[in-house]
């Protein structure tokens, strides 16, 4: 036994004996780290005293009532939806086209298409945000609303494609051959055979795109002028200038949207597809 082995041996034996317990400890600790802050948010939304007092003296639904009678916050939700809904529709259509093209056809620039549809994840948001405000608002002079919707589409395409593309690739092409042998043309085949089969993946991609768009802040913050804020921008202003307990309630709204959307998406497809990035 070498000198190094003599030193490391006790550690090796300790790890051997307690590996499973150590793993449980890691999982429990990290999950607590990830979920306790969210628990605190939900709990504090019922706190009577407002943001600065913990533990609260009393629990109340007061801030929920304040939120529901606050036109600025509700307007912000409507503003967000008027952006997120069309952006999600456009993203789903385009991501499906990307997936179809990349899966079916070999064409020059195919790798570039894949790279371009992945890059918005990798380029820092602040860099793309700056580039967009310079080009959309500075060079093209697009209206605010159009700029923001396009920005949201760019933001969500990579994630939707990441979910939709594997769905296309794992689809059994034999079914399409059968459909064509039976006399259906390409469009009929797509509508009656391909689409029903890839539909769950497409919907999952759409749900995730919507979640991202609903939460989108950085691009919106740069591209959007001073007009009606989206909900994330509204919250940002609240947190930076005058925190009210209502922010806790809005946080719960965000949580509700995200959790329900992602759970729905997961039930439609495999977790690890969404988990890819």
């Amino acid at each position: 036994m070498s000198a190094i082995d003599r030193v490391t041996d006790p550690f090796e034996r300790f790890t051997q004996a307690h590996a499973s317990r150590m793993a449980s400890l890691v999982v429990v600790t990290v999950l607590a780290f990830l979920w306790l802050p969210i628990g605190v948010l939900v709990f504090m939304s019922f706190a009577d005293g407002g943001v600065l007092s913990f533990p609260p003296d009393e629990l109340t639904l007061r801030w929920y009532r304040v939120f529901l009678s606050n036109d600025a916050a509700l307007d912000a939700i409507v503003t967000t939806l008027t952006i997120s809904v069309p952006a999600t529709g456009i993203t789903v259509a385009l991501s499906t086209m990307i997936a179809y093209a990349v899966d079916r056809y070999v064409f020059p620039g195919r790798n570039w298409l894949q790279l371009l549809s992945t890059l918005p994840i990798i380029v820092p948001l602040v860099v793309t945000g700056v580039a967009m405000v310079l080009f959309f608002n500075g060079t093209l002079g697009l209206p605010d609303y159009v700029s923001v919707v396009i920005a949201h589409v760019i933001r969500t395409i990579p994630f939707a494609t990441l979910v939709i593309l594997p769905t296309f690739m794992s689809f059994d092409r034999g079914l399409e051959e059968a459909s064509k042998d039976l006399g259906a043309d390409e469009f009929e085949t797509f509508r009656q055979v391909t689409l029903p089969n890839v539909f769950p993946g497409v919907v999952a991609g759409g749900l995730l795109a919507f979640t991202l768009s609903f939460n989108e802040f950085v691009y919106t913050y740069f591209v959007k002028g001073s007009g009606d804020p989206t909900l994330p921008v509204y919250i940002w202003n609240q947190i930076r200038y005058n925190v009210t307990p209502e922010v806790n309630v809005i946080s719960v709204v965000f949580l509700g949207v995200a959790v329900s959307m992602v759970l729905a998406a997961v039930s439609l497809t495999r977790v690890d597809l969404i988990a890819r990035r």
Partner: protein
């Protein structure tokens, strides 16, 4: 506009389909016509669409263009070109269309204040990446090798990632502020308050919190793909668990580690939300300087130049990562 250049280089577009397309051709057109005549207005539309698909099927290049073109065009016009526009604007003085100049860069690179900010941003990013990589890998390893309910656990890890970034920062403001949740709990057990908000520690905690789920995913993927027999073999040959980990598991999952590191380092380096909300006046990061140029100083070209500085760091890191073998662009479809 990408379209002309694309049809130019469409020379090699697939010709495989052409034979089959012709053989089915007559039949498809017929059925399209049938639908159009006997089926009312809806079928009329169908018939026209069928006619269109037939038309496109005879022209595979055009068909590919019709499907790949729109998303391609959108990504080029609204993502790639803006990045190039940023490069151009960064060489202009004071405003878009200003006189050509190198001043934005020389001002930035000769300013001790800005260079200090860049250096600090780099240090914070390195620390965050190291913490997230260590914790994230430990978590992924524990889930893959020791847990049965992997799907549920993975879901619990990624769910927080899909909630709003700002909300997650706000949660930590609640916890870390003086007399906040953390201090109150410490008080209850008789420990002194920490008042962590607006410190380096708060920034590190905030970043670790938001990026941990993101990093676990590539770690998880590479550990799942690892052949368990290799670990058995190592143990049969007498290596303990630590030795096995260091000489088998870790080297075999290096791709996942590199991907995770890149996915954490890059957004941290460009971030402005976390340092703005959780950091103090001595936690200024480069992203905040950019935000400032666009939200209060209104010197867009200077902001563009800083954006380019960040991009250079990012590109350098990506090149390094590609060298080390991260599967960053492996989104599938590469095998054909």
């Amino acid at each position: 506009m990408p379209e002309p250049s694309r049809s130019d280089d469409g020379g090699a577009a697939e010709s495989v389909d052409e034979g089959t397309a012709e053989s089915v051709d007559g039949r498809t057109t017929e059925s399209g016509g049938e639908l159009a005549t006997d089926g009312g207005s809806v079928s009329g539309v169908d018939g026209r669409v069928s006619g269109l698909t037939t038309y496109l099927r005879e022209r595979p290049r055009l068909r590919t263009l019709a499907i790949a073109g729109p998303p391609y065009g959108l990504l080029v016009v609204f993502f790639a070109i803006p990045l190039l526009a940023m490069l151009v604007v960064s060489f202009q003085a004071d405003q878009i269309g200003g006189a050509w100049t190198l001043r934005n860069y020389t001002d930035f690179l000769t300013s001790d204040t800005y260079l200090t900010v860049v250096w600090r941003t780099f240090l914070i990013s390195v620390q965050v990446t190291a913490i997230v990589a260590a914790v994230g890998y430990a978590l992924a390893y524990s889930i893959v090798r020791f847990s049965r309910r992997t799907t549920l656990l993975l879901l619990l890890v990624i769910l927080p990632f899909w909630t709003s970034y700002i909300i997650r920062m706000y949660a930590w403001i609640n916890i870390l502020q003086s007399d906040g949740v953390l201090d109150s709990v410490l008080n209850l057990v008789g420990l002194p308050a920490l008042s962590l908000l607006y410190t380096d520690t708060a920034v590190l905690i905030g970043f670790t919190y938001v990026w941990l789920p993101l990093a676990v995913l590539p770690f998880y993927a590479s550990l799942t793909n690892l052949d368990g027999d290799l670990i058995e073999a190592s143990k049969d040959l007498g290596a303990g668990p630590i030795r096995t980990f260091l000489s088998v598991t870790l080297p075999m999952t290096v791709n996942g580690v590199v991907t995770g590191v890149v996915l954490v380092f890059i957004p941290t380096f460009g971030s402005f939300i976390t340092p703005r909300l959780l950091g103090g006046t001595n936690n200024v990061m480069i992203g905040m300087v950019i935000e400032n140029q666009f939200k209060s100083a209104f010197n867009w070209p200077f902001g563009a130049a800083i954006g380019m500085v960040i991009s250079v760091v990012v590109v350098a890191l990506l090149l390094l990562a590609t060298r080390l073998g991260g599967g960053l662009f492996g989104t599938g479809g590469e095998e054909s």
